[in-house]
Amino acid sequence: MRIGDAKQTYEADEAIWTSPTQKFWFALFLLALLVFPLMANAYLLYLGCLVGIAVISTTGLNILTGFTGLISLGQAGFMGVGGYTVAWFSLNTGLPFPVTLLLAGLLAAAVGILVGLPSLRVKGLYLAIATLAASVFLHFIFAEWESVTGGMGGLSLEPAHLFGVTFQSDFRMYFIIVPLAVLMVFAARNVFRTRIGRAFIAIRDRDISAEILGIDLLRYKLMSFALSSFYAGVAGGLFAYFYRVVTPESFPLSMSIFYLAAVIVGGMGNLLGGILGAAFMTLIPEILKLLTAALTPFYPNAPVFMSPMLEIIFGALIVGFLIFEPHGLAEIWHRIRRFFSLWPFRN
C-alpha cells in the first residue's frame, strides 16, 4: 500500500511524478521500451513502431477532441500533409529528418488552423462534418496535384538520415519513433499543467462561461487545432519515413475514424487513455489476422468472413465504450491500480 505524503513545496506538489513509487515504475517502463527492440523479432518491432506513430497522432487528437471538446474527422488529412511534406522535402532538399519532421508538423499545424476556423461557429456533429469535408479536400489535393504529390502513384523517399546515419531498418526507426512519442506525450502533459491546458478544458466544459472568465475562444480553439495537427503532421512524417512511400491511399478517411476510436476507447481527455487506446486499436487488426490464420486450416472460408470483421469490431468498440465505459481504458486501468494500491486493506 502506498501512503500519501505532504509536500514541502508547491513545485513538488505540482510535479508529474509525485511519489518515488511512480518514478520507479516509470523508469522501469522506459527501460522496457529500451530493451524491447533488442529482444523483439521483426514483426513485434514493426508493431512497436506502428504503436509509437499511433500514440503521437492519438495524443494530438486527444488534445483537440478529448480536452477541448472539438470533434475532428480530419486527422488523416493532417497526417497526410505531414507525410507529403516529409516526402517532398527529403526528395527535393535532402534535409535531415529532424528538420523535415518539424516542417511536417508546422505545415500540418497551419492547415489545421485553417480547418479549425469554422469551429467558432459550429460544434459537435457539424464540426465533425466540416473537418470531414476538409479531409476529403486534402485527399483530392494529394491525388491531383501531381507535380508536387506524384498523383495517385504518390512519392517514394529515401530513408531518414542524420549526420550520415541512415535509418533504413525498423530497428533504427524505432529509435526515432519511440523517443519522439515519449517526448511528445510529455509535452502534452506539460500543456495541461499550465493556463493553456486549463483554457482548453474550460472551453470543453462550458464555453460561454470560459469566455466571460477571460478566455478568447477563437484563439484557444485554433491553438488546439494547431497543436493537434502538429502532432498529426509529425506522426504522418514518421509514417512516410517508416513505409518510405506515401500515396493518397496511405491516409484514407477510415484512418480518421481509427484515431477517433482510439481516443474514445482509450478515454477522452486522458493522456494515458490516448496511449492505451492507440496501442489497443493498433493491435486489434493484428490479433484478428492471427485469429484468421488460426481458423483457416479448419474453415477455409475464414478470411472471407473475417475481413469485414475489422470495421464491425471498430464500430462496436466505439459504441460499446461510449455506452458502458465513457472514460475508456484509462478508467479500467485506474480501477486496477486502485485495487493494488489499497491492497490488502480494501478491495
Partner: protein, 322 residues
C-alpha cells in the same frame, strides 16, 4: 491602511500588477476618506454621486429577445468600493443586466461605462482582463478540473506564458504557474477556507462549497468589480453567514466594488450600501437599504398588490445574517 496591506500581495505575483495599483493610490486615499460618510458622498449629493466615485455607470440600457423586453431604459450607477445590490422579482432582468456588463448580451440601446470608458465593442475576455469578474447564478464550474485548477483558471487573463514554454514547462511558464499557485494558496484558498477540498474534482462538492469555489475563481481574476449572481441562493443559514462575511471582507481587504444580485432580503439589507430595484426590466428605485425597504413601489413589485403586511415582513426580515 487596508489597501496598502493588499499591495504586497500583488507585488509578489507577476510583475505587471503594481502599476495598476500605483495609479490608484491617491484615489484610494480619497475613497478611504469618503468611506465613513459614503452615503452622503455617493447618494445624497447629486454632484458627487455621478462623479469619479462611480466605477460602473449604466445609462439607458435596453435589451430585448424577440418580444420579451428584458431591460428597458435601465440607468443606475455603481459607486466605487461599495456593495451595490440589484434586487427584483424573478424574470426582472437582473441576470440579463449582468450578461450585458460581461459582454455576453449585446444591448440594443444604451451604454455601459466602466472606469469612465464605454464598454460597447469590448469583447468578454477583454472585459475580464479589465477587472470585471463574476460568478454565475447556475454554478458554472468546469467539471473536468479540480478545485485548484478551476481557481487558477480565473488568473488566466493575468498570465502570459505561450504555447512553446507551456510545452516545455520550463522557465517562464513554470515560474508563472508557481507564482499563481502561491498567490491562490495564500490569499484565496486560505481566506475562503477551502484548503481541504483543493484536490477534489468540483463535481463531488456540496452546493455551498461549489458556490465558494466559484467565488474563489472570481477572486483569482483580481477583480475591480466583482459581480455575484445570487451568491447565497440554495445555501443553509450557516453557509449564508459565511458568504456574507466573505463578501464584506473582500470589499474591505481587496479594494473591490461588489455588484450583487440576491433574493435573500436579510442578507441584502444587511450588507448592501446601495440598492437598485428592477421590475419588468425597469429600475423602479435606487438608494440606501432603509429607503428601498420602505418604498411602496418596491413592496408592490414584490408582492403584487396583495397582502402588504407579509410583503413588508419579507422586506424587513429579522436580522439573520451576522
Amino acid at each position: 491602511m487596508v489597501f496598502m496591506a493588499g499591495l504586497d500581495y500583488f507585488v509578489c505575483g507577476s510583475g505587471h500588477w503594481p502599476d495598476v495599483y500605483d495609479n490608484n493610490n491617491n484615489h484610494n486615499l480619497l475613497v478611504c476618506e469618503a468611506k465613513t460618510e459614503r452615503s452622503w458622498l455617493c447618494f445624497l449629493v447629486p454632484g458627487v454621486r455621478g462623479g469619479i466615485l462611480s466605477i460602473l455607470e449604466i445609462s439607458n440600457l435596453s435589451l430585448s429577445f424577440g418580444g420579451v423586453k428584458a431591460l428597458q431604459d435601465v440607468s443606475f450607477r455603481v459607486p466605487e468600493n461599495t456593495i451595490t445590490t440589484v434586487i427584483g422579482p424573478n424574470g426582472a432582468g437582473k441576470t440579463s443586466l449582468f450578461n450585458c456588463i460581461s459582454g455576453f448580451y449585446k444591448p440594443q440601446q444604451g451604454t455601459i461605462r466602466y472606469q469612465g470608458e464605454v464598454l460597447a465593442g469590448v469583447k468578454p475576455p477583454a472585459r475580464a482582463a479589465m477587472g470585471l469578474a463574476r460568478t454565475f447564478q447556475n454554478i458554472a464550474l468546469f467539471r473536468g478540473m479540480t478545485v485548484l485548477d478551476n481557481i487558477k483558471l480565473g488568473a488566466h487573463v493575468h498570465m502570459k506564458s505561450g504555447l512553446l514554454s507551456s510545452l516545455a514547462y520550463f522557465g517562464a511558464a513554470r515560474r508563472e504557474e508557481m507564482a499563481v499557485r502561491r498567490e491562490v494558496e495564500r490569499h484565496i484558498i486560505d481566506f475562503l477556507e477551502i484548503d481541504h477540498i483543493r484536490r477534489q474534482p468540483v463535481a463531488s462538492l456540496s452546493y455551498g462549497l461549489q458556490k465558494r469555489v466559484e467565488l474563489a475563481r472570481a477572486l483569482a481574476m483580481r477583480p475591480k468589480v466583482l459581480m455575484l449572481d445570487e451568491p447565497v441562493a440554495g445555501m443553509n443559514r450557516e453557509e449564508k453567514e459565511d458568504m456574507a462575511r466573505f463578501i464584506l471582507d473582500i470589499r474591505e481587504e481587496w479594494d473591490v466594488t461588489v455588484l450583487m444580485v440576491e433574493h435573500d432580503m436579510g442578507m441584502v439589507m444587511d450588507i448592501s450600501d446601495h440598492i437598485a430595484v428592477l421590475n419588468f426590466g425597469q429600475v423602479i428605485t435606487e438608494g440606501l437599504p432603509a429607503d428601498v425597504q420602505n418604498n411602496p413601489e418596491v413592496i408592490k413589485a414584490y408582492l403584487g398588490n396583495s397582502d402588504m403586511d407579509s410583503l413588508r415582513k419579507k422586506l424587513n426580515p429579522q436580522r439573520e445574517v451576522a
